[in-house]
């Protein structure tokens, strides 16, 4: 399938979600600028999402972050239409999910998406194995093939030997991994992961992140990953969108988010990040002037690598080269270090904090 090689892009356009008895009546008010609090106090409706526009390129990991109640779960449920939007479009590949009829939606869910749930949502009367095959069962795959495929992922998430246990006999972290195996067994081009690793301990969490990244190297899926944890976001996410009170406050590459937080809300998020491991040399290099000198550093390397190389060789200058070895920029140790310790744009915020 050509689909799978390139991955299916997801494009969310002008999406609004209002919870309550008559949501359609209030969309216009919200479009005119009514806030979440106002809507709640005056009309007793909850503003779930407001004017969301996100382009998720196919085959990439899109991270969605935000505090509790900011609308992350609501947003991800729109992609497979577990929640119907009040207004807006959700284009997946070439189709508008919002316009699908019941049958189309069912086929779409069976073959194009798989989901990991924040609260696991395992079928309590089915064993680990029976839970894991559920997606393939609905697709009508032969039983033997279902179990082979499921077994592979059960083993991969470290639950070998628990195939015949019921979810209630497993710890929270183990249940979450069953949810993960269930979604991966489905082998869908789109993976929706709602805080999929939140119940895991740090070691297993790292391991599961690697599973995801490895998988991403083999088959490029389009993954929407929700998390509270910035380190996880930076490790997994190529692109990050940050939600607050149902609105996207900033979206972009992880470097953009860390380097240029749009407001204090995001600065607070990124304050504790180890910038040296996130920001790449491309973000701080200067144009090449004359004959560049110093060690060669590949484009895309993070600042920590560059700083290490430069201090080891006791030089204050370095050259950034592209894949072909051509110099594309010059690095100064001053710039590198200052980018590692202070945000480029939000010096003010950090000064206040200090």
């Amino acid at each position: 399938m050509a689909d799978q090689e390139e991955g299916i892009g997801i494009s969310i356009r002008k999406l609004y979600k209002i919870f309550g008895s008559d949501p359609a009546a209030y969309v216009d008010l919200v479009k005119q600028g009514m806030t979440k609090t106002e809507l709640n106090e005056k009309h007793n409706h909850v503003l779930g999402l407001k004017d969301i526009n996100i382009e998720m390129p196919g085959g990439a990991i899109q991270v969605v972050m935000g505090l509790s109640g900011s609308g992350k779960s609501t947003l991800i449920r729109h992609i497979n239409r577990l929640i119907d939007p009040t207004a807006g479009e959700v284009i997946v590949g070439d189709d508008d999910v919002v316009k699908m009829n019941e049958k189309e939606l069912r086929e779409f869910r069976r073959h194009k998406t798989a989901m990991v749930f924040q609260k696991f949502a395992l079928l309590p009367h089915r064993t680990v194995m029976e839970n894991t095959v559920y997606g393939l069962e609905l697709q009508g795959v032969p039983r033997k093939k279902q179990e082979e495929e499921a077994q592979r992922w059960i083993t991969r998430v470290g639950l070998e030997g628990f195939e015949d246990n019921y979810p209630n006999q497993l710890s929270g972290g183990m249940q979450q991994r069953v949810g993960l195996a269930r979604a991966l067994t489905n082998d869908a081009p789109i993976l929706l992961m709602d805080e999929a690793f939140s119940a895991l301990d740090p070691l297993i969490r790292m391991d599961m992140q690697s599973v995801l990244l490895d998988l991403q190297k083999e088959i490029r899926k389009t993954i929407v990953f929700i998390t509270h944890d910035l380190d996880e976001a930076l490790r997994l996410g190529e692109r990050i969108a940050i939600l607050r009170d149902g609105e996207v406050v900033q979206q972009g590459t992880k470097q953009e988010i860390v380097l240029k937080p749009a407001d204090e809300y995001i600065s607070n998020f990124v304050r504790e990040v180890n910038r040296g491991r996130v920001i790449t040399v491309d973000m701080v290099m200067n144009p090449v002037e004359g004959e560049p000198s110093g060690p060669k550093i590949k484009t895309g390397a993070v600042l920590e690598t560059a700083a290490k190389k430069m201090t080891e060789q006791s030089v204050s200058q370095a050259v950034v080269i592209d894949e072909n070895g051509m110099p594309i920029g010059a690095l100064d140790i001053q710039d590198v270090i200052s980018a590692m310790v202070t945000p480029v744009d939000h010096t003010m915020v950090d000064d206040e904090a200090a």
Binding site: L82, R110, T113, A121, L123, H125
Partner: protein
């Protein structure tokens, strides 16, 4: 000032007219459709007779073994199976084997009928708040209406005999199974249903794979109550020609045979205990996966 002393009821003649119209209407209805109903119910009749013959005509020892075995398979408890055998032996020893078997046959058939009719209604109620709003008051009336009242239309429609008795029992005993099917399905965890949807379940698949299995323990509680109500109707059913322990009780009332009444009553209690323990143990076994081992 008459209306202060005496309740201003509608005139006797209009009251009679109302009753007459309804009664005549129903009589016409029974004349027109009585035969059709009887034909439609002939499989039930056949099943009822088959069940009764099976239990009463087979050698008692085989029946006893079979019932004990069923009790064991359902409950997986030697204790329960053993008490079932003891109860049946006692009942037989006191000369009530045949009547007991008739009553068991009637209860089993009425319960199966209630399940077949009640579960789909319960499912419909769970699917729509509208249907629930329609059925709930009907069920309320059914559960408070004195059981004798059911007999009148049934006799008019079907006459006297086992099948009308069975239908009366079934109608009387069906509310719990409808209610608890509805309740059980409505109590299924929304998150789990959402997951089933997310993987692309059709509404039949979500019913079959998720709602019914998860509602089953609750439905079993409904079955249990239905059985108990069916047994409570045994005496009433005897009035319109259902044989069994109820008939003995009726005779004891008419002739003031205290001991006969007591024996038959105790036999019904015995059957009730059998059904109750076995169906409860079975219901518990269905919930095995819910036993929390970890948090």
């Amino acid at each position: 000032m008459d209306w202060l002393v005496e309740f201003p009821a509608m005139s006797r003649s209009s009251l009679t007219a109302i009753k007459k119209t309804i009664d005549l209407g129903f009589r016409d209805f029974t004349r027109a459709y009585g035969d059709a109903f009887e034909t439609a119910l002939s499989p039930v009749k056949w099943f009822m007779f088959w069940m009764e013959d099976l239990l009463t005509d087979s050698p008692w020892i085989l029946v006893l073994l079979a019932i004990t075995a069923i009790a064991y398979v359902a409950s997986r408890s030697v204790k329960i199976a053993a008490s079932v055998a003891v109860i049946l032996l006692l009942v037989g020893y006191f000369g009530m084997w045949e009547d007991t078997m008739s009553t068991i046959a009637m209860t089993v058939v009425a319960t199966l009928l209630a399940i077949v009719v009640g579960i789909p209604i319960g499912i419909l109620m769970a699917r729509s708040d509208r249907i629930q709003a329609i059925f709930n008051p009907i069920l309320d009336v059914m559960q408070t209406m004195p059981s004798f009242v059911y007999l009148v239309p049934v006799i008019m429609l079907l006459g006297i005999g086992r099948v009308p008795g069975l239908i009366a029992v079934m109608v009387y005993a069906i509310p719990p199974i409808i209610r608890l099917t509805n309740l059980g399905i409505r109590l299924v965890d929304k998150d789990v249903l959402e997951a089933a949807d997310a993987f692309g379940s059709s509404s039949w698949q979500r019913l079959k794979n998720v709602q019914m299995p998860l509602a089953l323990p609750t439905i079993m509680a409904g079955v249990n109550q239905t059985i108990m109500m069916a047994l409570a109707m045994v005496v009433v059913a005897a009035m319109i020609g259902v044989p069994g322990l109820g008939l003995g009780i009726l005779r004891s009332i008419n002739n003031q045979y205290f001991t006969l009444g007591m024996f038959n009553g105790l036999a019904i209690v015995g059957i009730a205990i059998i059904f109750d323990r076995v169906s409860q143990a079975y219901g518990k076994r269905l919930q095995k996966h819910l036993e929390v081992v970890h948090g």
